[in-house]
Symmetry: C2
Subunit: 147 residues, 2 copies
């Protein structure tokens, strides 16, 4: 923890800055080399999804402005929307206080969720039930059908 | 994956429901028995922080309505605000499509971040710099000083 330069910002005033290259070198990744990334629609504040990044996907996202994750199930780079067309344009990437989580402010084209819903958090725990609280905007069969 | 009942909701219409007890039994926890939990201020949409829960902390949170995490650094239950007084009241807990991430809609008292800032995501990556984009609301020395 003492080598994590992001911790210098804990007591820093608004407007202070550190070199990204230095922070990046000491980024707190998990044992698989990954960091969780929360995607939030930049204007509405809606939390769209959470996925994972490795350094390569983060670098590509910052370079291209189009969000790229690391797919744990497929063990490869996952350029969000590469199959569905539902891409995420990066507005701003933020790191939390201890540098182990990313918040991505994005502009999401269409639904973020593979089910066709706008966001992935549609299962609300209400007492002893888990209730579906939103409907698909698009039939997922259409999303993933190649033309 | 085939034993995860939450997947039944992928194609379910709005209003459909499953028994929480059944979903809970098959919750997709990581190798440490944990699930990431994003805390979002329920009315403003501000993403406050991300932390981790085990089943015990999730059960307590749902039972009491006061958010309790699992502290990975201290390896014990962490009742948010137990030292600082900056508690989180649960408004609604939601699970994502594959049941491996929680979104907690909360009502946060004061700052969520141990630095005294309202939220933990104050480090914005701007080109080659990481810039502090918000100021502390409260001096953290005051937050954690016992009276």
């Amino acid at each position: 923890m003492s080598h994590n330069p992001i911790l210098q910002n804990e007591t820093a005033p608004q407007g202070a800055s550190l070199a990204w290259a230095e922070v990046r070198r000491h980024l707190k990744l998990d044992e698989h080399g990954l960091i969780p990334a929360i995607a939030q629609q930049h204007d509405s504040g809606e939390v769209l999804m959470m996925a994972w990044m490795n350094l390569e996907s983060l670098d590509e996202t910052l370079r291209t402005g189009r969000v790229c994750y690391w797919s744990r199930s497929r063990q490869r780079l996952w350029r969000k929307g590469e199959e569905s067309g539902q891409v995420q344009q990066l507005i701003e990437a933020r790191l939390d206080c201890d540098g182990d989580t990313l918040l991505l402010l994005v502009d999401q084209t269409g639904p973020a969720c593979h089910t066709g819903r706008r966001n992935c958090f549609y299962n609300a725990i209400h007492d002893d039930q888990v209730e579906v609280i939103s409907a698909a905007l698009i039939d997922p069969a259409t999303l993933y059908r190649k033309s």
